[in-house]
Structures are given as structure tokens and as C-alpha cells.
Symmetry: C2
Subunit: 212 residues, 2 copies
């Protein structure tokens, strides 16, 4: 049995955040496929595992955790990589993880879901509204990465791994990083070049969706 079990599926950028950590750290882990698109996260059995009805969930011995930001914090403690040097840096990392959760991932994941996976087509007004929110959040990250190699300090941290969750799905929400946001493109390529990197569709099970 592997050290770590990660509840995930290929289309989830939130699950990709810890999956990428585990891959880059060379950890001993196994994915546990969650059948999101057939409603598994709304079943009583799944809600008993995570009352928030979300992936990812990490199991490590008797420890079970949810929320990607919590799992990343735990992996820093366990595996000692991609963390902070002091408390000031820890807070700067947390600041970007919170921004990611509140605006960057939150808007991008919703917008991408509506464009690609929603059971019914979304109203154009909703897509337009979400697109505006997405662009504003991306602009903040692009401005921050202008002249920087990584989000915090001069090396990869869990702030990068959190913000990178949905970046490699860019075409699915109409963004061409190289053309539209060169600083984000350069940063994403920098992470992609690290030993162990894999695209979310290769790293986690469930791609492509049946019938697509």
C-alpha cells in the first residue's frame, strides 16, 4: 500500500495541486478515482469522507485531510519540500494560497466548468460575467510574476503549486498564456520543466471523459 492516497480525478485542478506536489517530491502515492461527473461527491458515503463534497482528500495512515491548501501545508510538514524559511514567508505563501482560493482558482474553475462540463449550457450573460472575473484575477497574478521566477521567494513553493492548479488547462477556458500573459507562461513552463512534472490529464485518472 502506498504511503499517501489522494482522492482525485483528472479534470480537477484542485486535486492537481497536491498531486503535483507528490509527483515533484517523488513521494509514494496512489490516486483514488472520484467519479465526480456521475455525482459521487454528493453521495452520503462521500459526504461522510468530506462534508464539503469536494476533492481533493488526502489519506496518510490515520490522517484524513481535505482542502488543497491544508493538504499542501501537511505535505510540507511531512516531506519537507516547497515550504517556507520563516514565519514571514509562511504568511506570504498563505496570502497567495488564499488569493488563489478566493479569486484565481475560484473563478477559473467555475468558468471552465461552465464552458466544458456543465450538464446544460450556461447563459451567455453568466459566461460573460465569469470571464470578467477570471481576467481580473489573472491580471493580478501576471502583474506579480512580471520580473519574478516564482510567486514567493526565489524557488518553488506551495504557493506556486496552488496557483498552477488550473493553468495547464488554459485552452479550456480560452486563455493562451504565451500570447496573452507571457509572465504566467514563463512561470508555467518553469514548473513544467521540473523533474517529475506531468500534465493533470496524465497524472490523475479519468481522462478523457466517456463519450468525448
Amino acid at each position: 500500500m502506498a504511503d499517501y492516497t489522494l482522492y482525485c480525478f483528472a479534470q480537477s485542478g484542485n486535486a492537481y495541486k497536491p498531486a503535483l506536489y507528490l509527483a515533484l517530491a517523488g513521494a509514494d502515492w496512489t490516486p483514488r478515482f472520484v467519479d465526480f461527473f456521475n455525482g459521487e461527491v454528493r453521495t452520503p458515503a462521500y459526504l461522510a469522507i468530506n462534508e464539503m463534497g469536494e476533492v481533493p482528500v488526502l489519506e496518510h495512515g490515520a490522517v484524513r485531510l481535505s482542502q488543497s491548501g491544508v493538504i499542501l501545508d501537511y505535505l510540507v510538514e511531512q516531506l519537507g519540500q516547497f515550504g517556507w524559511r520563516d514565519d514571514t514567508e509562511r504568511r506570504e505563501i498563505l496570502r497567495w494560497i488564499l488569493f488563489d482560493n478566493h479569486k484565481f482558482t475560484s473563478y477559473i474553475a467555475t468558468y471552465r466548468f461552465l464552458l466544458n462540463f456543465a450538464p446544460r449550457p450556461a447563459a451567455p450573460e453568466v459566461l460573460e460575467f465569469m470571464k470578467g472575473r477570471v481576467r481580473a484575477a489573472i491580471k493580478v497574478l501576471a502583474g506579480h510574476l512580471n520580473g519574478r521566477d516564482f510567486v514567493v521567494g526565489d524557488r518553488l513553493t506551495i504557493a506556486d503549486l496552488s496557483l498552477a492548479g488550473y493553468v495547464y488547462y488554459g485552452a479550456e477556458f480560452g486563455v493562451d498564456w504565451a500570447k496573452d500573459y507571457p509572465p504566467i507562461h514563463a512561470w508555467a513552463e518553469r514548473i513544467k520543466a521540473l523533474p517529475g512534472w506531468q500534465h493533470p490529464y496524465d497524472l490523475m485518472p479519468g481522462h478523457p471523459l466517456p463519450g468525448r
Copy 2:
């Protein structure tokens, strides 16, 4: 000069989170009014203070922090109240702060803004979409608080203060907690009964908006 300066305005539930901490802890603090509705957060001067273009910002001596979750973490360190007993509890608190940022506050704040403060009326499709997201997030918290006095453990923590950010504005987004979500109502009343509690419109400057 007060120990703490909090950049805030009365309509911001995100600013209310640390403002309420400071009030309940009896700290020596002063608000610094941010003229959000006239665009101050988009000015170069403000973006130099917080590149994310948001409130709250906390200043404490030479320390300047943004993101309510980071500020709450810092206040626990400085003032020693409403924190965790061990690392497991610290992560459980962080889990709820992340859920708050990703879904609870994120959807509620956007929906309330569209209903009350947006310069142009939002399309009904957008309001309907956001309302669905808001209700789903509220349902998770109501389920969790059913049978619990506080979000984590048996006492007030910064998880409660984060999730309570927008709760007292309920009528502005069409929610009657007492009628619709009794566990959230009971919890909000429990916090309201604490010495030092004030409504966000009383605790922070800028209410009512001019002309309303």
C-alpha cells in the same frame, strides 16, 4: 497612535473578519477608511499597498499584511486569542478558512455586491446562477453547525470569525437565517452575544453610502 491600523470600509465583510477579532480581543486599533466605492482600491497608490487591490490590510509597526486569513493568523500569534490548541486543530481551522474564501464568502460577497452595490443592474441569469452557488455553500455550513456551538472545537476560533464575515448582512442577500438556517442563526447569535461585538456597519466607517 494605535497599535493596529486596519484598512477597511463598513460594507466589506472581508475587512469585518479582522475588525471583529480586534474588537472581541479588546485590542488597540484604528480603522483607516478605504473609499472602495469611488475606486480607491484601483489607484496606483493603493495597489502599491496591496497589489491584489483588496481590503483588508493590517499595519502593525513595520508589518503590513493582506488577506483576511493571513491577518487572522497573525493576530492569533500576536494576541493569543481564538487560535488552535495543536497542529491538527490549526489545520481544521485552516480548512474552514479556505472553504470560506473559496466558496462561502466568495459567492456571498459577489452575489450581495450585485444585488446592492453594482454600478449597473446584473442580468437575472447571473443573479440566479450566483444564488444557486450561495445556497449550496450555505448548506455545507448549516450542516456542519447542526449540533455544534462553534465551527472548530468547542469555542470561538478564527474559523468562526472568517465565516461570520458576511453573515450579519444576511438581509442584503435575501437570507433570513432564523427562518431558513436555524443552526447558522444560533451560531451568529452566539457570536453576537460576546462582549465587544458590533455590527459591521457600526464597527467600520462608511455606512451608509452617500445618497442612500
